[in-house]
């Protein structure tokens, strides 16, 4: 598995798209920092970008890589290798190279800006951690979609739909439900609703850092416990990990049964 991971990883590292992705974050970081001149505002803008863009690029890139390297995969399958190690190796190769582009691309300008001395470093590292989690989750989801769909166009369609659903539509439905049932106690529902969507989950994680004063304005014991203590942080991280593990398990499971 490690060999395949290494191969995928270096293959991607050499590819143009990784550079474009890396250059994009580098540019974003530089522009945000040197035009804004305010670290806390830059972190907020970055949060918006990370929450929307990272899942999108993760899904598209994952699907693309799977379809592009299909012939190579079939070649590998002819060798005496475990199926799970082939697919997991590929998956990790993609996910890690994307995460590396993200971390380096954003990290370099911030380090030059003097982040290490500023107290925004925790907010910033939280951003990078959630960004990495989102990459892992959405690449895994993309591999799932690609494994289940032979048709490229269909696969891409589903991938984009998945992103659209989790990034925007889900929140719309969520908001409507909350407003519809406003006469009922909703704290548990709203927290569960957040847990079920990795994008919302990572958003809440960052909110815990940035908008804590607003979040504590709500009267509700469950909310208060969730936001007021490190309980929220721990639960969110556990849920994010679950969100990585479940799709990865499905990759293993699906790849074993798939007929190539």
């Amino acid at each position: 598995m490690l060999k395949i991971l290494k191969y995928s990883f270096f293959d991607l590292m050499r590819s143009r798209w990784s550079y474009v992705y890396f250059a994009f974050y580098l540019l974003l970081g530089i522009v945000l920092l040197f035009l804004n001149n305010d670290l806390s505002k830059a972190v907020i803008t970055l949060m918006n970008v990370i929450i929307v863009l990272v899942p999108l690029i993760g899904t598209i890139f994952g699907v693309m890589y799977y379809y592009n390297s299909k012939e190579f995969t079939e070649l590998l399958l002819a060798q005496p290798l475990k199926r799970s190690s082939i697919f997991l190796g590929q998956y990790l190769g993609v996910a890690l190279s994307l995460s590396m582009s993200l971390i380096l691309g954003l990290g370099i300008p911030f380090v030059f800006y003097g982040l290490l001395k500023s107290n925004a470093i925790w907010d910033f590292s939280l951003l990078l951690i959630t960004g990495t989690f989102l990459t892992l989750i959405f690449t895994a989801l993309a591999f799932n979609i690609a494994l289940s769909n032979e048709n490229k166009i269909k696969g891409f369609g589903y991938a984009i739909l998945l992103w659209l659903f989790l990034a925007i539509i889900y929140d719309g439905i969520f908001l409507m439900t909350l407003i519809l049932f406003e006469d009922y106690p909703l704290d548990k529902l709203s927290l569960i609703g957040t847990m079920l969507n990795p994008i919302d989950l990572s958003r809440t994680l960052i909110l815990l850092k940035l908008d804590i004063s607003a979040l504590l304005g709500y009267t509700g014991a469950v909310f208060k416990q969730f936001f007021g203590t490190s309980f929220g942080l721990i639960i969110s991280f556990i849920m994010l990990t679950v969100w990585v593990i479940l799709p990865v398990l499905r990759i293993v499971f699906k790849s074993k049964k798939k007929d190539f």
Binding site: N48, I168, D171, L175, E182, D200, D211, G217, Y218, K224
Partner: protein
């Protein structure tokens, strides 16, 4: 010549009577404060040497100065009130008062001033108290450099740090109050000056006004109080250069204004409060040169607020700049700096060319269904906020800042 002699002798007699000093210590002839008070004549000075004096119900009924040396401890042994001043011209300096009794029927205080004028209470440290300094029906007093550290846990069985009741022209400066119910509380007290105090970690309010008019509070710091500062049912109060920080919680405000008219709120800093200012039924207030930074809500306008003016304030990175619950707006927002402003300034005059709408649709939604706060900063919310910005339906359409500034205001 004779006349002069008489004058001089009279002067000397008065002078010597003024400078009479009674010393109190464990080894002196006078061993207790009460004893000293019976011996002392008007305008004498009682010098309290270092030591512990277990006394309560000390009643000061003549103009006298009590000066502590090296902070002598007056221990009330939780039996009731410790010092009561009922005479004019009393000075208390450098005392350490502890263990005031708690009662549910009487407001026991460490130091109570009743119907007296021209008193000075300074350099006093109060600990383990019920009420700290309680000033009733008194005037022209000064309360300087005191430190009040309570251990209040619940509101119903704790008292206030400095309380004024029907007292006018009192100056409260450089005091430090923490862990009591209300740090400083004014009821029916006019023309008072509250300056350079720090009021922190109090159960209820850092500062609390009720029915008190024409007061000034300036350069104070209010931090981490249960509900911040409350100004209620008062007129013509000036609030200048104060700092309100980290008042977090469900019913927590940097400042709560209720039925306040004709006030001036200038040069204050509101930082990291759940609600910076909560306004209810307050009219003709000028908000100028304030900094609202990293608050949940910078300003929450409830009902019945008319002709208020918000001029040249900085709204920096608040989750919500302004929340508004009605569709009628009679308040003016002009020349503020909004960090969320996205307009442009083509003619480079420092004023944005597009008006700014400080009320977001989402803040309206959160007002209605508070749980939706969990969707804060979601992309869907950004989309609906954007559409509301273009054509306001739920928020008052005339609530806008026509001259949003491009750069932070400095003054």
């Amino acid at each position: 010549m004779n006349k002069l002699l008489v004058f001089v002798s009279i002067f000397l007699i008065t002078f010597s009577s003024v400078s009479q000093t009674v010393e109190v210590c464990k080894s002196c002839s006078v061993k207790s404060i009460k004893e000293a008070l019976t011996i002392a004549k008007d305008y004498d000075t009682i010098r309290l040497k270092k030591g512990t004096y277990k006394e309560h119900n000390i009643i000061i009924d003549k103009p006298i100065a009590i000066i502590g040396e090296d902070y002598p401890v007056i221990d009330g042994e939780s039996k009731g009130e410790v010092i009561t001043i009922i005479s004019d011209d009393v000075l208390l300096d450098g005392l350490f008062v502890i263990n005031v009794g708690t009662s549910y029927t009487e407001d026991y205080a460490a130091i109570r001033v009743r119907k007296s004028k021209n008193f000075v209470i300074q350099n006093v440290v109060l600990e383990k108290l019920f009420f700290g300094i309680y000033i009733e029906k008194s005037s022209y007093g000064k309360v300087y450099h005191n430190k009040i550290i309570g251990d209040a846990v619940e509101e119903y069985n704790s008292g206030n740090g400095i309380q004024l009741w029907y007292s006018n022209h009192i100056e409260i400066e450089h005091n430090y109050v923490e862990h009591v119910r209300d740090g400083i509380y004014l009821e029916f007290s006019d023309d008072c000056i509250i300056k350079n105090n720090v009021s922190a970690e109090n159960l209820r309010y850092g500062l609390h006004f009720m029915f008190s008019n024409d007061d000034l509070y300036q350069d104070n710091t209010f931090e981490n109080n249960g509900a911040g500062v409350a100004v209620m049912f008062s007129k013509k109060i000036k609030m200048l250069n104060n700092t309100f920080r980290e008042n977090w919680g469900t019913a927590s405000y940097g400042m709560l204004l209720k039925e306040i008219n004709d006030a001036e709120i200038i040069g204050n800093t509101f930082e990291e409060n759940t609600i910076g200012i909560n306004i209810e039924g307050s009219n003709r207030i000028t908000y100028k040169h304030n900094n609202f930074k990293n608050n949940g809500w910078a300003i929450k306008v409830r009902g019945a607020c008319y002709t208020n003016r918000f001029l040249e304030n900085n709204f920096l990175y608040n989750s919500f700049d302004i929340a508004y619950n009605s569709k009628v707006n009679d308040n003016v927002f002009d020349r503020n700096y909004w960090s969320n402003y996205t307009g442009y300034d083509l003619d480079k005059n420092g004023i944005g060319d597009v008006p700014y709408r400080p009320v977001k649709l989402f803040s309206y939604i959160v007002n209605r269904t508070p749980e939706t706060i969990i969707l804060l900063r979601s992309m869907f919310i950004d989309i609906i906020d954007f559409s509301e910005k273009i054509s306001p339906v739920f928020t008052p359409d005339n609530l806008l800042d026509n001259n949003p500034l491009i750069k932070k205001v400095s003054w």
